[in-house]
Subunit: 324 residues, 2 copies
DNA sequence: TTGTAAGCGTTATCAA
DNA sequence: TTGATAACGCTTACAA
């Protein structure tokens, strides 16, 4: 038995006799042998590892429902393919760049996921410069040729608007996410489009940074208007819940005096009073499909935009017809 | 310049003249060369990579405040040391074992973190069998010789009990975590001890699985007692918030009729009404120190129990003196 | 102080 | 269909 034969067998390639194959497999079984990933990587120049760098402000880390679910989804996509995921969480842009550079230069990863793309994000260019495959998770990056895979952010806000409109609301506020992110822009655009399509007047969206404090503050801003909205759509559940508390503290009742729609459907959305009407994305599936797409990219395959499950609109008790 | 010299320089080892060192560094700088992690791993048989396998029920993934913070903490400990983290999220025990075995056999990691240890957990034995270093994150495992690093779980519950007692509560209920986990046991023991020390009578703790639904159900169980408690301490914030909602739905007011204490201090704890009194752990620091400890273990160092920051007790508005 | 050469555990190339 | 043998990019004796 030569090493070559064994190599052929475990990568089940043609050109080895059935009996030799059987003997190799038996021997492997007896010895409990497993191929060494590092050595293989050295030989093939492929590490069978993908990288995920998450840049998150520490105060948002434990709230963000996206991160853990997405990671779990990636895992379900990667495990059957024998790929591993190396993960890095960084606090700022500088550390973020270093993280990508190290991952690439060390040869630790074959490709990386790019999340939370910012407008004028340097990462797509950096990736082509470093020569590693990348997949944008979210709305496509303008002008770059890095492929992107994201759910249709717009459909969620459109669903929210049409739901509120059907309840009779005509004066709807929006607390959108932090400025500078591609997905925030995409959702804001969708927001304006949805209002226009529905023939509703627009209250300028108030930007907030996804934290509870910002959500509460934005809520007060909207309720302080000369003509306050009868419903508010928030960019995430955390801000929506903080918004409910803020509204309640002003003596308003939700949903009687103010309807509230969240985004994400965190497990808590169901546990508060009133239970939150919100938009749910299947982040787990998103992660799985993203993982498969990125693997196929690193293996030289073409990127094919796979179908992601559409967002779901979950109607609970935080929305009701407006007071007239 | 020979490869050996270069190798000596980048690992800054003695035995190379200052001028040779300078020339090597210059060349490295000019060529933008970086050592390849895989090749180095093959040679040294050390991957400079640590593994974290998280077994989590999918429905808890996006709520668990521990996971993302701990990962971020690990990262801050690992990055300066040039180590990477490979992460795996698995749904059940079988997949969990496979994950550890693959990580070890592939030679992908030098050591792993063991979280959420269960009573009679097979993992400590598996780790010694696989011959890879491991560090238990949480209370120590009975009888094993795998080192453990955890905050004193007891002090949180003791603080909660003494806070409630000082407010005048004498009949305090407890919704503890899922049975079968070492940390649940540890906290339950601490709970009984704290009550005994305070000379308070014990209501049997109700076990719940950390979900909001379970928290609500446990709350109803306690409030259905012939003599319901005037205060309840929960094993996590999610259950506490669900508990508040459950109590409110029965016409009780929090904190006037029922005081509530949570555990974790998730960002939402501050955004609901009433803001939640809770126990905060510095999970970020915990992760950092755990990472450093595990690296030192894999490099053959002795394990030295580092000091973790003590838990903090955060008093907000969900606790008040009992009605008399 | 430096260079040479032998591994590390795979895959890939070629003769046999 | 097989078995040598050379990479892959590093570390580490050991010799110069």
């Amino acid at each position: 038995m030569s090493k070559a034969t064994v190599s052929f067998v475990i990568n089940d390639r043609p050109g080895v006799s059935p009996q030799a194959r059987r003997r190799v497999l038996e021997a492997i079984d007896q010895l409990g042998w497993q191929p060494n990933a590092g050595a293989r990587a050295l030989s093939t120049k492929r590490s069978q590892t993908l990288g995920l760098v998450m840049r998150r402000p520490p105060e948002l880390l434990s709230t963000d429902p996206f991160f853990p679910q997405f990671v779990a989804g990636i895992e379900t996509g990667l495990a059957p393919l024998g790929y591993a995921l190396v993960l890095q969480v960084v606090p700022d842009e500088e550390t973020e760049r270093q993280a990508y550079e190290r991952l690439a230069r060390d040869g630790r990863v074959d490709g990386v996921f790019l999340t939370d793309l910012r407008t004028d994000d340097p990462r797509p260019a950096l990736m082509t410069e470093l020569g590693i495959s990348a997949l944008i998770v979210g709305p496509p990056h303008h002008g770059g040729r890095v492929p992107a895979l994201g759910v249709d952010d717009g459909s969620g806000v459109r669903r929210a608007v049409s739901h509120l409109r059907s309840l009779g609301h005509r004066w709807i506020g929006h607390v959108c996410g932090a400025a500078g992110y591609v997905h925030t822009e995409a959702r804001c655009d969708a927001w304006r489009g949805a209002l226009a399509d529905a023939g509703l007047p627009e209250i300028p969206p108030v930007a907030a940074d996804f934290t509870g404090a910002a959500g509460a503050q934005a809520t007060h801003r909207l309720l302080d208007l000369d003509r306050p909205p009868t419903a508010i759509v928030y960019a995430n559940d955390l801000m929506a819940i903080a918004g409910i508390t803020a509204a309640t503290s002003r003596g308003l009742r939700v949903p009687e005096d103010l309807s509230v729609v969240g985004f994400d459907d965190i497990p808590l959305a169901d546990c508060i009073a009133p239970p939150l009407t919100t938009v749910r994305q299947d982040v787990l599936t998103w992660g799985r499909i993203a993982a498969q797409a990125l693997v196929s990219l690193t293996e030289g395959g073409k990127f094919q935009a796979a179908e992601l499950p559409p967002v779901e609109f979950v109607v609970r008790a935080s929305t009701a017809p407006p007071r007239t």
